[in-house]
């Protein structure tokens, strides 16, 4: 332990921590900007400077370790003035038209300027207006609002291993962009959206679909239905000021009904369907000695990555569409027929923790009628929260409601799709029970749970040992995919999710997502699973009815037509 003083208050703090950590532990708040939990310490922005007795210049608290006898002044006039000048300089090179910005009232720079009492800027603007990049379906980049904090660069490089974004140029001309100032659509971007989740300002964000959805809701000729992904119910609350990990399923359904959706459905239903299809695919490949390992395909960030960097592994990918897309194609066929509605009048919205889902929805393969997308609009968790706020809904006080019938039956297996290892566990519950033809003794497959980047496990099925593996983040996906490419891996089945923690840590999740927060959400997800009556996808009677009434056999002809897809080599050079 070291004895230090912060603002004259004597404190004992553990050795080796930084000033910022010591301050936080003792409830002193030091403003930061480039600092982000889980990411490297860059000490780029200098917003966190403090005065340390005996130090000539100011010290950045995010990167300076404490030592015995250190005396720190967080808010000395010198430190305050420096912070203020730094933020004023940022604002002089920033399109600070807050009311026209998606981050208005949810922006770290704005909050910082406010807390430092910056109401006018002493510096003239030096901003050179650049075009806004919106040429891809998922991510929008507005360089005029970038403050070059480097968080996006870091998450793209170190968490995702993609290195799409980098700093280019120097000093006042510095830019954060893909190589050669190219657009994301022209480089190896997976649209995972991790960059948009860590950006403190309105410089990288998801492509806005709220306007399209408001328009559809306002259009009396449209039958507007919405599906909500498993990970939303444990994260949406955070963006609406509820405690971390709150399970808000019922309130969320109520809010969606208040927004005006004609029907509110649960993507967990098609998650169960995915397990039935993927499970049968796995069983088929095991029996017929097909291409193994089978690799999951429900994460579009991973699919984009695989198609670009591992096109040779495309044969390993499950041909199953993701739950989002299975829902879309069934909505425009089965559901339209059942309800007697012209499919052209059905507008399908999905709420996803993900920006890559916007790209997935626009794929030409995802159109059952050959021309229109099956899923018309994709909202991120953040966008849904925004719509709820725009509507003036008092979320916390809503009375809980249930998903619409008859497809409201879902299993706990579907619920855990939102956590890394969840799809694997859901599939194992079904595959093992179906192959062994007797009830599972234990439902929880603890060995595939957890948050280690790559996890391997052995599973006994009918007396035979099967090796499986789970990876999350694209950096870990690369390591595992490389092993498969080299051949000789023992695995039968692999689950890959592009985002840290799985969908709970998706690129469309609430701002401020960290591994710590994701763990809370994962905990809540397993809670949902435990509290669900049906815990295996093949026990979901509603799904099985869908097969007998409409689809025929799992993996059969109709199922293939509606629920499966193919992949393309998207190598860019």
């Amino acid at each position: 332990m070291a004895k230090i003083k912060i603002n004259n208050m004597p404190l004992n703090v553990p050795d080796g921590i930084t000033i910022l950590e010591a301050a936080k532990e003792n409830n002193f708040n030091i403003p930061t900007l480039c600092y982000y939990p889980d990411l490297d310490i860059k000490s780029d922005c200098r917003v966190c400077v403090v005065e340390v007795k005996g130090h000539k210049g100011l010290s950045t608290s995010c990167s300076t370790p404490i030592y015995d006898g250190m005396e720190i002044k967080i808010n000395s006039p010198r430190a305050q003035n420096a912070r203020k000048a730094i933020v004023e300089m940022m604002l002089a090179n920033h399109d600070a038209n807050c009311t026209a910005c998606v981050r208005n009232m949810n922006c770290e720079l704005q909050r910082l300027a406010e807390s430092l009492g910056i109401h006018e800027n002493r510096f003239d603007t030096v901003l050179q207006e650049k075009a806004i990049e919106q040429s891809n379906p998922s991510i929008v980049r507005n360089a005029n609002r970038c403050i070059k904090c480097g968080r996006c660069v870091d998450v793209c490089k170190t968490v995702q291993g993609m290195s799409v974004l980098e700093t280019a140029g120097r000093s006042h001309d510095a830019q954060v962009s893909p190589a050669y100032g190219k657009e994301l659509k022209d480089v190896f971007c997976t649209y995972c959206g991790q960059c948009s989740a860590v950006c403190p300002v309105g410089a990288i964000m998801e492509k806005d679909h709220t306007h399209n959805v408001w328009d559809a809701l306002d259009n009396g000729d449209k039958h507007v239905i919405v599906q909500v992904a498993p990970a939303i119910r444990v994260s949406l609350g955070e963006e609406l000021n509820l405690p971390l990990g709150s399970i808000v399923t019922g309130k969320m359904v109520a809010a969606l009904k208040m927004l005006g959706f004609d029907r509110v459905f649960d993507t967990n239903f098609t998650a169960d369907l995915t397990i039935i299809e993927e499970g049968h695919e796995l069983i088929g490949r095991l029996k017929e000695r097909g291409k193994l390992p089978l690799i999951t395909s429900c994460c579009p960030g991973w699919i984009n990555y695989c198609e670009q960097e591992f096109p040779d592994l495309i044969d390993h990918l499950s041909s199953c569409k993701s739950p989002q897309q299975m829902f879309g194609s069934l909505a425009k066929t089965y559901y339209a027929q059942r309800e007697g509605i012209n499919p052209d009048d059905i507008y399908v919205v999905s709420v996803m923790p993900c920006t890559a889902k916007k790209f997935e929805a626009e794929r030409p393969e995802m159109r059952v009628n050959g021309k229109d997308p099956d899923v018309d609009a994709v909202l991120t968790t953040r966008e849904l929260a925004k719509m709820i706020k725009q509507m003036g809904i008092d979320f916390d006080n809503l009375r809980e409601q249930k998903f619409d019938k008859p497809d409201e039956v879902t299993s706990g297996a579907a619920a855990i799709f939102g956590a890394t290892g969840g799809v694997m566990e859901a599939a194992l519950r079904s595959v093992k029970e179906i192959l062994e033809e007797r009830p599972l003794e234990k439902l929880d497959f603890d060995t595939v749970r957890g948050t280690d980047g790559i996890r391997e496990a052995e599973v006994e099925i009918s007396g035979q040992t099967h090796h499986v593996a789970v990876a999350h983040t694209l950096a870990n996906a690369r390591t595992l995919a490389q092993k498969v490419r080299e051949g000789g891996t023992p695995y039968s089945f692999i689950e890959i999710m592009a985002c840290p923690g799985g969908c709970v840590g998706g690129g469309g999740q609430p701002y401020g997502t960290t591994s710590e927060r994701s763990r809370e959400r994962i905990y809540s997800i397993y809670q949902v699973d435990r509290l669900t009556k049906i815990r295996k996808s093949h026990d979901n009677a509603a799904v099985m009815n869908l097969y007998s009434n409409y689809l025929g056999d799992p993996s059969g002809e109709k199922a293939h037509e509606l629920l499966h897809t193919h992949y393309v080599n998207r190598r860019k050079k």
């Binding site: 490089k157 290195s163 799409v164 974004l165 980098e166 700093t167 280019a168 140029g169 120097r170 000093s171 893909p178 190589a179 050669y180 480089v187 050079k573």
Partner: protein
């Protein structure tokens, strides 16, 4: 072909990046680097292309547009800026009849800015290819330019 030969000289080590890039650039009469070359260098050293581009765009001695035989780089950091009583830049622009960033039609001169050249005591300073000239005056600039020209006639 040339590129392949240069790459082979260097071990696949990331700390060789600047040396490799300089070597590639210096073997070309245009003294510039292309996207294709950056991609090959990144592949050879196992570095992301965005990183290689980041380095090239950071240092003013690298360029991604073709340049003339004599590259005039005028420092624009604070000491040179403050000591620049006659405006080195504008003087050179009018002497050569080009704007900063451009190359004369005969391909002899390219005019650029540079960040600090480390000779602040002699401000204002500029660099012509590998040589640094300090304490610049309009006369000195004229002399440097005609020296470059005669150099070329020889």
């Amino acid at each position: 072909m040339e590129l392949k030969r240069i790459l082979e000289k260097y071990p696949k080590r990331q700390d060789c990046l600047i040396d490799v890039l300089l070597d590639v650039q210096n073997t070309k009469s245009t003294r510039h680097l292309t996207e294709v070359e950056l991609a090959r260098v990144s592949e050879h050293l196992g570095l992301p292309e965005s990183h290689v581009f980041s380095v090239v765009s950071f240092y003013s001695f690298f360029s991604m547009t073709p340049r003339g035989k004599h590259i005039l780089q005028v420092c624009r950091d604070v000491p040179c800026y403050l000591n620049d009583t006659f405006n080195v830049h504008e003087t050179l622009e009018s002497m050569l009849g080009i704007k900063t960033g451009d190359t004369t039609e005969d391909g002899l001169f390219t005019l650029e800015y540079s960040s600090c050249l480390g000779c602040c005591d002699q401000a204002p300073v500029m660099r012509v290819n590998d040589t640094v000239y300090g304490n610049l005056t309009p006369d000195k600039l004229r002399a440097i330019i005609s020296e470059c020209r005669s150099d070329d006639d020889a």
